[in-house]
């Protein structure tokens, strides 16, 4: 018997060794695979109407939304220091101003291109919080245009904030192994048959806009699940929705006008308003894109493989509660004495959102038709109740205050459940433990 077990162990060990060797060989082969041709305008590049090289770089930097992550609240733009709270510690974004000592002022063109497209800086391999798995698809010319723009900015002396990560995540030597498993150094593949507009949209969404970094589900190893691309994921407490054209759980039934309004101004009439991190994307990046580029994004999003996700999150456009309510008066069966969520809504929320969810004086405050009030887990509803949200588009803006310091966990649960029931016909499954967890997810 012991002999048999010994033999079994040897066989298992051999299989493991062969398997691991094959995996590493395959990974290495894939990693060494040629990265493909450089994408070329008009699929890549800034719009032809912009001639000045620095302005072209500025447009591309906005499309790639460098500033949102590389600036901290109260800090100088592009000087880094924004914390990323992850389950295993905190990462801080770096200074990408042209300061020679604390920024990237001494980097060569090749240094910069390698950092952006391959995640390797002159010092070390970067954590994939820097979205190089997306930026790898960029054209070299575009990366260099962004560099020219960054180098035209004022250098800021701001030493990096050291990351605070737990072992083994603080071991940078692990990162090349992670890359071997999850990263491919590949330029975007142009699909000639799909036409320029769709390809341009794909370049904007995947290479520059790196939508998938939030909207594509991740594997346990933090890799992106390409087969379910853009079908939604949760990060730092916020739910990034399913933006594939699935008619039930994605954006398939949004009109072109709704998609365009959402992408360029952060609010789709009759549908969602951008909040939290997506509001930042609209504010720092998408509002500056040309109408043609927004249209290319719409065309591309309509063309990706539809992925059906949890049907319980299907958006109800005519929810019972809101549809039978007026601006000032809730539906007859809303009982403020027994429903503490409704009571909270009446005092703190109805002033802007209104009982019928039309948003009263602020279009961003409309609730009916929003994907967030149809999410049975109420993730974004809890986030905005706790932390508030703000957006600024052009000269206009809207702010929702957070209530983290005023509401108990039980109150947030009651209010969230009421909002989901009244504006989405959903029975929420949010618990006090969920709310407690989300209190630290800003």
């Amino acid at each position: 018997m012991t002999v048999h077990i010994g033999r079994l162990c040897r066989i298992v060990a051999r299989v493991l060794v062969v398997g691991a060797t094959l995996a590493i060989a395959l990974g290495t082969a894939l990693a060494l695979w040629p990265p493909g041709d450089e994408p070329a305008p008009p699929v890549s590049g800034a719009p032809a109407r912009i001639h000045d090289p620095i302005s072209r770089g500025a447009y591309l930097a906005r499309a790639a939304d460098c500033i949102a992550c590389h600036s901290a609240p109260g800090g100088k733009p592009l000087a880094g220091g924004l914390p990323f709270t992850l389950p295993f510690g905190t990462l801080y974004s770096t200074n990408i101003t042209p300061d020679k000592e604390t920024g990237i002022g001494s980097w060569s063109d090749d240094d910069f291109v390698r950092a952006v497209r391959e995640g390797v800086s002159p010092q070390h391999t970067l954590y994939p919080a820097m979205p190089y798995p997306s930026y790898t698809a960029l054209a070299r010319d575009d990366v260099l245009a962004i560099k020219a723009y960054l180098f035209s900015q004022q250098p800021v002396r701001a030493a990096r904030t050291p990351n605070a990560l737990a072992f083994p995540f603080n071991q940078r030597w692990v990162l090349p192994l992670w890359k071997l498993a999850f990263f491919r150094n590949r330029r975007m593949v142009i699909e000639e048959a799909a036409g320029v507009e769709r390809n341009r949209g794909a370049y904007l969404a995947n290479a520059l806009g790196h939508c998938g970094e939030c909207h594509t589900p991740r594997t346990v190893g933090y890799g992106l699940q390409d087969a379910r691309a853009l079908s939604g994921e949760t990060a730092q407490g916020w739910r990034a929705g399913n933006i594939t054209p699935d008619p039930w759980t994605g954006i398939g039934r949004w009109s072109d006008a709704q998609l365009t309004a959402y992408l360029s101004a952060g609010h789709a009439p009759g549908r969602s308003s951008a909040s939290g991190p997506m509001a930042e994307v609209i504010e720092h990046s998408l509002q500056y894109l040309d109408a043609d580029d927004i249209h290319a994004l719409v065309v591309y999003l309509r063309s990706v493989t539809p992925v059906q996700t949890d049907p319980r999150l299907m958006v109800e456009l005519k929810p019972q509660g809101a549809t039978r309510s007026y601006d000032l008066l809730p539906a007859r069966d809303t009982d403020l004495r027994t429903n503490s969520g409704a009571r909270l809504f009446s005092s703190d929320c109805a002033g802007c959102h209104a009982w019928n969810g039309n948003g009263r004086q602020i279009s961003y405050a409309s609730l009916t038709g929003s994907s967030s009030v149809n999410d049975i887990y109420g993730r974004n509803v809890v986030q905005v109740i706790l932390h508030g949200t703000r957006i600024r588009v052009g000269e206009a803006g809207a702010v929702m205050p957070g209530f983290a310091n005023r509401y108990s966990d039980a109150e947030v649960v009651a209010l969230t459940r009421f909002v989901l029931a009244h504006f989405g016909d959903k029975e929420g499954v949010v618990s006090e433990a969920d709310v407690r967890g989300q209190r630290s997810d800003k």
């Binding site: 009263r360 602020i362 000269e395 206009a396 803006g397 205050p401």
Partner: protein, 167 residues
């Protein structure tokens, strides 16, 4: 009514029935325009984030918070403030009930209370206590005149229904 005169970049709307124009910053909240430009100081500033109700006015008959309503949202629309609300039957009835029951204490929130109460009576001519709670909960009164507010709304509702049947 023409809402925007493109030749002069002027925004046109009505305040208490009077055609009004603004050539200023379209993102200015209506409250500032009412108080500073038109001198209609009956509408009060409370919290500035649409949570206290002191600045409530009507926009095409619907109660809105003027502190969070940019002028850009007014093109071609009609605003009614506390100064003009008595021109409607409901507004008149509410104000009379307020006087009859001496509702106001310090008075700061009362114009907002009256505006919301009037809009409520337009949505529901015979509101119950629960209706009043649901509709008026967003209008805060630091003197806690809530019971008198509730009583006055019932008085106004009765006055309106009696006037309605006698006509």
């Amino acid at each position: 009514m023409k809402s925007v005169d493109a030749s002069t970049d002027t925004l046109l709307f009505e305040v208490n029935g009077t055609p009004t124009r603004s050539t200023g910053d379209l993102q200015t909240p209506l409250l500032w325009f009412l108080r500073d430009d038109l001198g209609l100081t009956g509408t009060k500033f409370g919290c500035g984030i649409a949570m206290c109700g002191a600045c409530t006015v009507h926009l095409d008959g619907i109660a809105v918070r003027a502190c969070q309503l940019p002028l850009a949202g007014l093109a071609g629309k009609s605003v009614t403030t506390i100064e003009g609300v008595a021109r409607t039957r409901a507004g008149q009835a509410v104000q009379q009930a307020w006087v009859q029951l001496n509702v106001a204490q310090c008075g700061y929130c009362q114009s907002g209370q009256i505006m919301t109460a009037t809009a409520l009576l337009r949505e529901n001519q015979a509101p119950t206590d629960a209706d009043i709670d649901a509709a008026m909960n967003g209008n805060v009164c630091r003197c806690a005149t809530y019971r008198r507010i509730k009583a006055a709304i019932h008085v106004a509702a009765r006055a309106l229904s009696e006037a309605g049947t006698s006509e």
